[in-house]
């Protein structure tokens, strides 16, 4: 085996096995037999050309619509700054309302005197304050839903960018988009939404993958770069978890309140 071949089998792109550079002795009779048998393995039927073409067209239309902002829940790249401002404002407002509500609850508890039982604390808070105190949770969930929707669109765009992607500007654009989603993810992690036992692990994993995408966005991605990100995406099962989290835990809860 030549040095080139050894490099090929040791470069981790494909698993050639631990004994990849061991040269096998051939048996021409077996080779002829197996070459005759091999075409009978996994024999393909006729390609369903029209059905596949329609599916490809539908996927491309969805991608174009997402870019044009025509899909509800998917915000195109050009609106990101506005979206980020809304998310940040919602989070800040949530924190402010939360603190104000807690302070008023404490004041009410002090005013009620030392004989009040712990159970009477909430009852002593005026009804309007209780309603307001419930709002931050809703705001956090809304912010989480928007961030996760953005993350899903970003990761889908990353996957659609393809192994042959050699366009540096597309790679940089993906990185810049990733930075925005990362900022929003970190804001959520530092907010009370980060204490949610279901949301926290998802946001942690999302943060890690976003950091990888951003780190590798300075130059066109080669196959090993992509393999690194793909592995992180697959090992963490990130896209399916995001897709599950948005309707099941966040959006539905938000709309039901």
């Amino acid at each position: 085996m030549t040095d080139d071949n050894k490099n090929d089998v040791n470069d981790n792109r494909y698993d050639f096995g631990v004994d990849a550079d061991v040269v096998s002795q051939s048996d021409p009779r077996f080779d002829a037999w197996v070459a005759k048998m091999a075409p009978t393995l996994n024999v393909p039927n006729a390609a369903p050309r029209q059905e596949m073409w329609e599916a490809i067209q539908a996927a491309r239309k969805t991608s174009r619509d997402a870019q044009a902002g025509l899909l509800p829940g998917v915000t195109p790249l050009r609106r990101n700054w506005r979206l980020m401002s809304v998310i940040a404002a919602a989070l800040l407002l949530g924190v402010a309302i939360d603190r104000l509500a807690l302070r008023r609850a404490d004041d009410a508890r002090v005013a009620a005197g030392p004989t009040s039982s712990p159970g009477s604390r909430v009852a002593s808070v005026p009804a309007t304050n209780r309603d307001t105190a419930a709002d931050p949770a809703r705001l956090y969930r809304m912010a989480a839903a928007q961030t996760l929707t953005q993350a899903e669109a970003l990761l889908t765009a990353y996957r659609a960018s393809g192994v042959g992607e050699r366009n540096p500007s597309a790679s940089r654009q993906l990185g810049s988009w990733g930075r925005e989603v990362l900022s929003s993810t970190r804001l959520l992690l530092d907010s009370p939404a980060g204490n949610d036992p279901q949301l926290r692990p998802l946001l942690d994993d999302l943060e890690l993958v976003l950091v990888q995408i951003i780190e590798l966005s300075g130059a066109p991605l080669d196959e090993s770069d992509r393999a690194l990100i793909d592995r992180a995406l697959q090992d963490r099962n990130l896209l399916p978890r995001i897709r599950t989290a948005v309707p099941a835990n966040v959006a539905v809860t938000t709309s039901s309140e």
Binding site: D4, V9, R13, D15, L41
Partner: protein, 195 residues
């Protein structure tokens, strides 16, 4: 001599046609998308089917290959033939999907394996065929890919090398290795190939 010149002229015309077609795809011409698809779909589908053995999966992976290719057509610089570039994408998406499924199978019941076996073409000795398929599936991923591309689907070593990003020598060595491993795995059936 004359035949060689005719062939190289024909090849030059094909490359020029391909370049023109890709340029039209880049400009968003829908008929060019369709023409490019029709030219390559059969081979991509056959390849994904050979590597997966599952019709619905082969269909999804073929679609995924073309969506990715059309989405990143600006990144195709024409250093290789368009078909080679497509094969690279197809092999990559297929092997990634197979890895993902392998991990899932380790957790779930092996239903898909059972389905794959029941969907297989009949052969005179089902046990031998089943053993061969199982031995092929046990090969290391790269080795198995080379074997299926060469012996099942008739790719040349040069085509395999271009699709996998390795040298033709590596492709040949891995094919020999695959056959060697299969011979050991099927030793109990040696009378099938020995006179």
């Amino acid at each position: 001599m004359e035949t060689e010149r005719t062939l190289s002229l024909e090849r030059a015309h094909q490359l020029a046609d391909q370049r023109a077609l890709i340029e039209r795809v880049r400009q968003g011409d829908p008929s060019a998308h369709r023409a490019l698809y029709e030219t390559h779909v059969e081979r991509i589908y056959r390849l994904t089917y050979r590597l997966t053995g599952l019709e619905h999966l082969a269909r999804e992976l073929t679609q995924d290959t073309f969506v990715r290719a059309f989405g990143s057509i600006d990144g195709f610089r024409g250093d290789s033939a368009f078909g080679t570039w497509l094969h690279t994408i197809a092999v990559s998406v297929t092997l990634n999907e197979l890895k993902r499924r392998k991990r899932e199978r380790a957790r779930d019941a092996p239903l898909e394996d059972a389905l794959a076996l029941t969907q297989s073409e009949p052969y005179s000795d089902p046990l031998l065929r089943e053993k061969l398929m199982a031995a092929v599936n046990d090969l290391p991923e790269g080795c198995r890919t080379v074997f299926m591309m060469h012996d099942s689907e008739g790719f040349t070593h040069e085509e395999i090398a271009a699709a996998l990003g390795v040298t033709a020598g590596t492709s040949k060595a891995q094919l020999a290795r695959a056959r060697g491993k299969l011979r050991i795995a099927l030793a109990e059936f040696a009378e099938e190939w020995k006179p």
